[in-house]
Amino acid sequence: MSLQPLFQWIEGTELAVAINNSTYAFALIESVHLVALAVIGGAVLVVDLRMFGLGFKNQPVAAVATAARPWLIGSLLLILLTGYLLFSSLAAGKYYWNIAYWWKMYFLLAAIVYTFTVRQPFALRRAANASVGVTKLVAGVSIFLWLGVAVMGRAIGFI
């Protein structure tokens, strides 16, 4: 089954048409998307770097992860919302045909699933008793997946 009809329907919704017809909407939503990216980058990195033994060395991983959690979830919701709006405006015309867009979505899906099923439970509960190697592995995979989302997202504009 192809997702093309779904993408065409999304691009035809009133909201998507309005964004597409506006001179400023896409650029302004994109700017908010970028600010949210900075926040999510900080919220992810501050915990992953701690798991690498860098940054807040005197605080347990769980304490850093607890402090970062509301910012991670909040910025993720904001970035998903603005991301959907950007996507909707050109869903079938541009993004469906853009290979970087698909790679970004695969990375994003993997990053979200990994973050909330592996990395968050690990950082919040198990990191204190885990070995250094496992802790670094959990953090490294997290950075790799989120970096993939960012790089592929940037690549959309150049393909």
Binding site: A27, E30, L34, V39, G41, G42, A67, A150
Partner: protein
């Protein structure tokens, strides 16, 4: 030679032309600029939050700065280098873009704001480990975040030629 004339000389140079017309290099520099933003602003946010006594409160103010400042600095250096390269690739167009000018002014203000903080309240951060930060620190935090969000917006909007070039 006028300033714009100088920018034109830079733009006509082999280095600038090569960067501007490259298939991958410009995109890579731009990508690095955004990733630098992620590290710089993401970490700066956690520092500003600490000024408001939000976030990782189990770390003292001075410790928070000690832990975050290397990353904030590193992210900033990456952004300055990649940003200069992006500017050099198209200096005349950038200089003529209103958002670029606003971004420059906001960058100067953000720099002054940071200097003002670090040479007054922030001079001896350990002093504030035991007692709450003064109200002025909150003002600095609000100004900083506001300016940086403005800088991100302007940076993104430079890509659009909504207004007639200034030069």
């Amino acid at each position: 030679m006028s300033f714009v004339g100088l920018l034109q000389v830079i733009e006509d140079s082999a280095f600038s032309t090569g960067l501007r017309e490259s298939v991958y290099m410009w995109a890579c520099v731009d990508g690095v600029h955004v990733l630098g933003l992620c590290i710089f602003l993401g970490m700066l946010l956690f520092w500003e939050l600490r000024l408001f006594n939000v976030g990782l409160r189990s770390a003292s103010v001075s410790e928070t700065w000690d832990r975050l400042s290397p990353w904030i600095t590193a992210g900033f250096v990456v952004m300055v280098i990649s940003g200069l390269l992006l500017f050099v690739s198209e200096p005349v167009r950038f200089w003529g873009n209103i958002f670029f000018r606003v971004k420059l002014v906001a960058l100067v203000l953000a720099g002054l704001n940071a200097l003002a903080f670090h040479y007054s309240i922030g001079k001896r951060l350990v002093d504030w480990d035991a007692r709450p930060l003064p109200q002025t620190a909150h003002l600095v935090g609000v100004a900083s975040i506001t300016l940086w969000v403005l800088i991100v917006f302007c940076g993104r909007l430079i890509a659009y030629n909504w207004f007639a070039p200034l030069v």
